[in-house]
């Protein structure tokens, strides 16, 4: 176990190094710089700025300097947002994405599992059909369409909910709905199929024969076993949602990390691009790592040496 974890960590470090290097050089290869602007600054000022930002040095020197700083935990200062620390920018924008994301995950899991369970329990009945049509719609319709539609109906027409911003509980409703449409659909389908499988399993029949109450069977056997595949899905989904959906954040005007990332790229804010990339990298790798561990704990059939392909 310890060796397994040590191995994983080593691989994560190597991946991170490759990620940093590749991003750094690719980013420098894009035309333009943080100093590109429509109204040209006099050459003397331009040169001084380049010198101050270290942009006058050869790229490899900039790269080694950056690596050195990162190893010491220094992510630098934004080149566009004057005097703002990159770690601060990440912290502030990530907190918005995280708040929204956590709510979305909880909603997605609860609603998705409930819907899937209902569909399985009322297999081939009306509820099942409605739930599955909704699931297909949820998976097929892209989130920006859902978002615009929700905005149109609930803000523009009915005036029930605010269009944009992130100031209180009411502001969560629409973005969460838009953000969860897809995961809900996916979880519902997963739950449904695995529950159907479980419902037909022999041990359920045994439990029934033993005279256990239906609710007890449902709770102790069906749900516990039926929910397994959902756990597998929740890991990557969490990482995915928490890193911020650019589209949703843009449409609902939420100052999250996804929106910040895109903004940093279009303004060539090098330190912010690098900072967020590293942050994303660590987050995603940790999410996978934790899923692997969680899986090992929940399902002892998974052998340690099996997890290598991750």
């Amino acid at each position: 176990m310890v060796r397994y974890i040590a191995n994983k960590l080593l691989f994560m470090l190597i991946s991170l190094f490759i990620l940093i290097s590749a991003t750094f050089f690719l980013m420098k290869a894009i035309p333009g710089s943080p100093l590109t602007s429509e109204k040209q600054v006099p050459p003397a000022i331009q040169e001084r700025l380049e010198e101050q930002l270290g942009l006058d040095k050869p790229v490899y020197q900039q790269y080694f300097k950056y690596l050195g700083d990162v190893v010491q935990g220094d992510f630098g200062i934004s080149m566009k947002k004057i005097n703002q620390d990159v770690s601060n920018i990440i912290g502030q924008t990530f907190s918005a994405s995280l708040k929204l994301g956590l709510v979305a995950i909880v909603v997605a899991v609860i609603v998705g599992v409930l819907l899937g369970m209902l569909a399985a329990l009322y297999h081939r009945k009306l509820i099942d059909n409605v739930a599955m049509v909704l699931a297909v719609l949820g998976i097929a319709v892209p989130s920006f369409v859902v978002a615009s539609l929700l905005q149109y109906v609930f803000s523009s027409q009915l005036h029930w909910l605010p269009t944009m911003g992130f100031k209180g509980p009411m502001y969560y409703v629409l973005p969460v709905a838009a953000l969860t449409a897809q995961p809900i659909a996916f979880i519902a389908r997963l739950t449904r199929s695995s529950m159907l499988e479980v419902l037909h399993a022999d041990y359920i029949k045994t439990a029934k024969a033993k005279g256990l109450s239906w609710l007890a069977i449902l709770w102790r056997h069906v749900i516990r076993n039926g929910i397994m595949p959902v756990i597998t899905y929740v890991g990557p989904m969490t990482a995915n949602i928490v890193t911020g959906s650019v589209v949703i954040e843009q449409i609902f005007g939420i100052g999250g990390i996804g929106k910040q990332f895109v903004e940093a790229i279009s303004t060539r804010d090098y330190p912010v691009i690098m900072g967020i990339t590293i942050f994303y990298g660590i987050l995603l790798m940790l999410a996978r790592f934790l899923t692997d561990i969680a899986y090992m704990i929940v399902d002892p059939r998974v052998k340690v040496n099996k997890g290598k392909e991750g």
Partner: protein, 567 residues
């Protein structure tokens, strides 16, 4: 199987009912708007017959499409920062609607040629209660110009009008006392300029000239946190959630606080014109559109029908144009450039594509810029060329002969990615195809890539726009000189440079304007370095109860004296 069919039917029904319901909703809303308009009209009447009642809650809600990168006046260089800094700081002067400089931190001033003496008001205070003195201005300007300021203030050149300022900024002299600004006493600031600058008073209302509290000297992060900012304007920064909201609250220490009626301004930071407009219609914003956001063009015709009384269109001193790379084939030939310029239908572009009441342009200096006694554009008509397809065809043929083409080389028009620019580019390409029989490819490029290509003359014809930095034709004319960093056309003309340099030292404004007129003639009539398309307008929607906003000639907005009527 049958079951699923009936299910489908049910779903269709639900959807249909849903659509119907939402349609009803929209009707209701129109009625509600009708109601609003009616009340606003009566409100106007009330205003005519006497003072309209102020709304109890004086909180203004607006949206900025981008977060200002900084609240440090020395570092700012964008229009969003301009909006916010105007709320928080006050320069020596303030611009009124007519573009005239009004007393602000300076009570009055004397002008003696290139020497300006500003008398500061004695009751002006910083938000922490300290008096605003001439030394604060001196400190701020030195900070902008000092070569040791990090990062180097990009707009330092806005202060190059001061004697020796450029030399000091470039490190050629190291003694700031040689620069043309001096605090004679606490309330008298003396400024000496390098040459006659008729628009200097206007410049002192610009953010690079704003004073800064001297406590910022030892703190890099002072403009990063709301709690640390000490300002001298009508509002103080009370909340700043990065990427989300900026709130400013009335500054009780502001000398003219009695004229400030708004108690608070909340600014959301949403970069989506569609969301901004929906939000406005939903009553979450009091104003949407230029200059802080943008109304999607396809929404303008709808607004003209639905919210006619709330839609505002106002000219702004900016020009939309296509520039030619005069060093690249085939546009190294003036006749071919002229043929292209003469063969697009600007009125059609404005009426059918941009839809915002823009004015077809045949010159470079837009309306709104001061001339001698009236606007430059009123005094000098932009009749440098006309739209004439027959003439254009003839010129194209002559040009092709001169350059020895039997067939034009491949031509690509580049523009920065945006739905609006794309539509205009496609319309223009279509007109060239129809009128000249020329195929022009259009290509969109990401903003920084686009600028990089334009700057390095890696293009044939490119979209461009220019807005005024100050209210004088010079801000449009001097960008086309041979060594200007903003001249991306490859155009170099000695006579043009001479006219501009001469204008810089002329004291007689009539003579300066003559030079500008001649320069514009060389630029467009003779050489057609650019193809003017239209003069910009500001398109916005404003709630009828919102009053007192000042939108100046350049499209910059001042909310300080705005107020909300009872509604």
């Amino acid at each position: 199987m049958k079951k699923s069919k009936s299910l489908l039917l049910l779903l269709t029904l639900v959807l249909a009912v849903g659509t119907l319901l939402s349609a009803c909703g929209s009707n209701e809303k129109n009625n509600a708007n009708g109601g609003n308009n009616a009340t606003s009209n009566s409100g106007d009447n009330a205003a005519n017959s006497g003072e309209a009642k102020l709304a109890a809650d004086q909180t203004l809600r607006i949206n900025l499409s981008a977060e200002p990168p900084t609240f440090d006046p020395a570092q700012a260089q964008d229009s969003q920062a301009n909006t916010v800094l105007k709320l928080m700081y006050e320069g020596l002067t303030r611009m009124d609607e007519a573009g005239e400089a009004q007393p602000a931190a300076a009570e009055k001033w004397d002008i003696d040629g290139t020497k300006y003496t500003f008398h500061l008001r004695k009751d002006a205070k910083w938000s922490n209660g300290d008096p605003v003195t001439a030394n604060d201005f001196l400190f701020a300007w030195e900070r902008v110009l000092s070569p040791n300021t990090t990062p180097a203030p990009p707009y330092a050149y806005q202060l190059y009008y001061l004697k020796n300022a450029q030399e000091y900024n470039e490190g050629k002299i190291t003694d700031f006392s040689q620069v043309g600004v001096k605090a004679v006493d606490d309330y008298t600031l003396e400024v000496e300029l390098t040459g006659p600058t008729p628009y200097f008073l206007g410049l002192t209302s610009f953010y690079t000239f704003f004073p800064v509290h001297q406590s910022v000297k030892n703190d890099d992060k002072w403009a990063v946190e709301a709690s640390k900012m000490i300002v001298n304007g009508a509002f103080t920064l009370t909340e700043w959630t990065k990427g989300q909201t900026i709130d400013v609250t009335k500054n009780e220490n502001y000398w003219d606080k009695d004229s400030i009626k708004l108690s608070k301004i909340t600014m959301s930071l949403v970069n989506s014109g569609a969301t901004e407009l929906t939000s406005y219609k939903n009553g979450e914003l009091d104003r949407a559109g230029h200059p802080n956001g943008e109304i999607p063009t396809d929404q303008i015709p709808i607004l003209q029908k639905e919210l006619k009384d709330e839609l505002h269109v106002k000219g702004t001193a900016s020009t939309y144009y296509y520039e030619f790379n005069v060093t690249a084939k085939p546009f190294d030939n003036a006749k071919i450039r002229k043929a292209f310029a003469m063969s697009i239908d600007r009125q059609a572009i404005v009426d059918k594509v941009t839809l915002g009441g823009q004015i077809p342009a045949f010159g470079f200096i837009p309306p709104g810029i001061k001339g001698v006694s009236e606007e430059f554009r009123t005094e000098n008509k932009d009749d440098y060329f006309t739209e004439n397809v027959e003439e254009a065809k003839k010129l194209l043929e002559e040009g092709m002969q001169e350059a020895g083409y039997t067939k034009l080389p491949e031509i690509t028009l580049i523009y920065n990615s945006s739905e609006a620019h794309k539509k205009i580019a496609l319309a223009a390409a279509d007109m060239w195809k129809k009128n000249l029989g020329v195929d022009v490819k259009t290509e969109n490029q990401e903003w920084a890539v686009f600028l990089e290509n334009r700057r390095s003359l890696n293009y044939q014809i490119a979209r461009a726009a220019w807005s005024a930095d100050y209210n004088d034709p010079m801000t449009f004319i001097d960008m086309w000189t041979s060594n200007s960093g903003n001249n991306d056309s490859g155009f170099k003309n000695e006579e043009y440079d001479k006219l501009v340099n001469e204008a810089k030292s002329l004291e007689d404004n009539a003579k300066r304007n003559e030079n500008f007129k001649k320069a514009e003639e060389i630029l467009i009539k003779e050489n057609q370095v650019l193809l003017p398309v239209y003069y910009y307008t500001n398109v916005s929607v404003e709630k009828p109860y919102l009053k007192g906003i000042v939108l100046d000639f350049s499209g910059a907005i001042d909310y300080t004296r705005a107020y909300l009527e009872d509604h």
